[in-house]
């Protein structure tokens, strides 16, 4: 799934209005629309598919209970993401640090991605790194980041959300978002440097 920016805010507001009016099928449509994106956000923060499933159910339940108070001051997209970010970070703070990752198998299309080829062969076609090796290394590097830095990387690098939108969701300045990304990238580079050398 390639990252998409929300380009149908009017449709969201219509579905929200119908949900507030008591139409449960309208909220189902919002679940269908937002569950893939929010799954990615939660999954890349927790690195655990089962935890992601449970947490995502909780997120949508909370959104459904709170939707009567949604006044449209922000877009529904921003509102849903804010709920997801807050609940995910709260979950991570409560979770036992000795968490076992439960990673999804990458889509086979990754092997044809030029970035994957460049990252794994490093110009040497004889030196091939398996997808799972790269996945594990990337995951380990991400887990070393703090929740705030990991969230910025997840939203910008993985999901392709623009800086300005991330700032609205996290309720920080755009400068803070860029600063967190800069620091996180440097940390990730240090973690992956050894991998590339080996």
């Amino acid at each position: 799934m390639t990252p998409e920016t929300d380009n149908q805010p009017n449709n969201d507001m219509e579905l929200v209005a119908r949900t507030q009016g008591g139409d449960p099928t309208a909220f189902d449509e919002l679940v269908v629309k937002y569950s893939p994106r929010l799954y990615g956000l939660v999954y890349h923060m927790t690195s655990n598919h089962e935890d992601t499933n449970d947490l995502l159910q909780d997120i949508f339940s909370k959104a459904y209970r709170s939707i009567a108070n949604f006044r449209g001051k922000s877009s529904f997209y921003t509102w849903m993401h804010s709920i997801s970010v807050n609940m995910t970070i709260n979950f991570l703070k409560k979770r036992n640090r000795r968490q076992h990752p439960s990673l999804n198998d990458p889509d086979s299309r990754i092997e044809n991605d030029p970035d994957f080829i460049a990252a794994t062969s490093n110009g040497d076609p004889t030196k091939e790194v398996s997808v799972h090796e790269l996945q594990k290394k990337l995951n380990d590097a991400m887990m070393k980041l703090s929740e705030d830095h990991r969230m910025a990387v997840t939203m910008f690098d993985i999901q392709g959300i623009p800086h300005a939108e991330i700032a609205k969701i996290l309720k920080v300045s755009e400068g803070t978002v860029r600063s967190r990304l800069f620091y996180a990238h440097r940390q990730l580079q240090n973690s992956l440097q050894e991998f590339k050398r080996n």
Binding site: Y64, M142, D157, H185
Partner: protein, 143 residues
């Protein structure tokens, strides 16, 4: 230092996806959970629902709460600023004193008179002489 290479590598994580059909199952699970919550709400939800129901029945105007709060604040300030009344002092006499009797005295006046021709007058303090003067019938105890 460009972080573009790092951005390209991290972006590869987007290929990590849940199994096929996951999101269809997710919606079904969510719908089942919603039905379960409607049929068996938690105790907290029940209490909150009852509280909202009671509030809606009272039909208190929204501004009434603000007015009541303002009155409470003013009353608190007024009470806190009230001057504390002085406690009457308790006197305990260790003995009973007889009434003061002022004997009738001939009024007198005081004036400073330096001793005449005394070459030591600058060294010694002046002496005070009591001289009788004309009587004044005003009560000596009047102030």
């Amino acid at each position: 230092m460009s972080h573009e290479p790092m951005h390209r590598i991290i972006r590869l994580k987007r290929y990590e996806q849940p199994p096929e059909g996951y999101f269809d199952d997710f919606l079904r699970e969510f719908q089942n959970r919603q039905r379960a919550e409607l049929l068996h709400p938690s105790i907290g939800e029940l209490i909150l629902e009852r509280f909202h129901a009671i509030l809606s029945e009272i039909r208190v105007p929204a501004m009434a709460y603000a007015g009541a709060a303002a009155i409470a604040v003013v009353a608190s300030v007024f009470i806190l600023r009230l001057p504390t009344p002085e406690q009457p002092r308790a006197y305990s006499a260790s003995y009973t004193q007889p009434p003061v009797m002022v004997p009738s005295m001939q009024p007198v006046s005081l004036r400073v008179e330096a001793p005449a021709g005394d070459r030591f007058d600058s060294l010694f303090p002046p002496s005070y002489l009591l001289r009788p003067r004309a009587a004044n019938h005003e009560s000596p105890l009047s102030f």
